[in-house]
Amino acid sequence: MGRIGVIFKRELTGYFATPIAAVFIVIFLMLAGTFTFYLGNFFTRGQADLLPFFNFHPWLYLVLIPALAMRLWAEERRGGTIELLFTLPVTLWEAVVGKFLAAWCFTGIALALTFPMWVTVNLLGEPDNGVILAGYIGSFIMAGGFMAIGSCVSAITKNQVIAFVISVVVGLGFVLSGFPMVLEFFSGWTPQFFLELISSFSFLTHFNDISRGVIDFRDIVYFLSLIGFWLFATALILEWKKAE
């Protein structure tokens, strides 16, 4: 096990050593269920798929993931342990990736615990399980995108509340940029390529494709490069102002 693995293990067990794990998972499952059944009309739609379930994931992540991510670096800074971490024989990159992977994996665990949803839909009808698998993959990789944004914002400040609010706002920007109301605001007075650029940055545009079962290489690349970009920014910010 390398140093990324050691950091990963410590972070992940850290979630379960505190009430964070229980609170996050319970609330995530409750909200996911409520949205699916009440707002998504899971039963009355009469279709054996999990679209109403996946459709709400961007909004769930928008609020819940910054709550997890806000402590990633803000906590290290506040407790002074950042000084301990970066005087160990570990590279900046290993620390950033190790902590991110642990947080991402934790959301993966929460997501996996929604399996009763999958069981239900299989009991009620005959869904296309390939589409559902694609939905899960898309949801997980999108969670990584939100987490990477949160990781970067958390590196900026030692105040967790500020980290939370800014992450939500940045995340909202990425979700909404594909929305008609945002696009309409820009349409007419900006060139077409700019509109397409904004829309191509949207989590929704990319996630909707995947959750309908279309795993397009470009959507996966989009999310992975987004994660890469924000983690790179995290490392830059830490290098720049780790001592503050």
Binding site: G14, E83, P89, A243
Partner: protein, 318 residues
Amino acid sequence: MSSIVEIQQLRKTFGSIVAVDQVTFTVGQGEVLGFLGPNGAGKSTTMKMITGFLTPTSGTVKVNGFDIQSQPLDAKRCIGYLPEGAPAYSDMTPWTFLLFMGEMRGFRGQDLKRRVSETVQKVNLEGVIDQSIETLSKGFKRRVGLAQAILHDPSVLILDEPTDGLDPNQKHEVRALIKEMAREKAIILSTHILEEVQAVCTRAMIIAKGKVITDGTPAELEAKSRYHNAVVLRFRGPLPEGVPDILHNVSGVKAIEELLDGEAVNGYCVVSEGGQSILSEISECAKNQHWDVAEVSVDRGQLDDVFRSLTMPAQSLT
């Protein structure tokens, strides 16, 4: 004696503030270097640069020949560091925390467990080993920090205020531990407790406004004191008349200060000119005058006096 830590022209600025200014020194095996200085003098900043946490504005740090900037991992492997305030992951227990730090240092399996247990014994953490760190007292937290610093038996130890906030017994323990390890390591510690310098350091360095003001053994520092070789004279019973005038005429005497016992003067401190030894002259004089002397002693010099005069130059003139 080979030098393990080599620091050349180290400088750090934050905006227009110069925190550390052209600091150069080396520390060898067996040396315990004490950083002394007022708060904000640049002690911690210097330590943060040596340990690779802060990037210097200019200058180099070499640990065992490894440059902290171009070979950070190799250099950091040789260093044990106790940051100011002894931070630790507060949701962990000392046991899991030390296991984590050991794993980060590359130890695994039985070797890791053996090292952690040995270190826990060394710093007396057995009693709280399974309590979460946030519930520990300041003294225990400090010991946890010390434990992680010495876990991998580093050749260089950097300790930022290792005894700050400890009670006298704990201070004594930590100092004993430092002394015990001193032979095989190069140790740099910062403190503003002057007695600590006398107790553990083989060398002391006073830093003020980012600059090294003086560097020498504690004895050499004491020799810079106004009170170096001053003679303390205390009388039994009532004070004879005209003592100060008589003492002023003894050769080598620079000044005479009254010593108080409560309200009343019961003796004098005779400050010598240029720190020369004046004990024999004073005792000769006392004998000739038939003074009833209770105590005659020679002051080695007071570090806090040196400290004050060096770090506040304007007031040292008075």
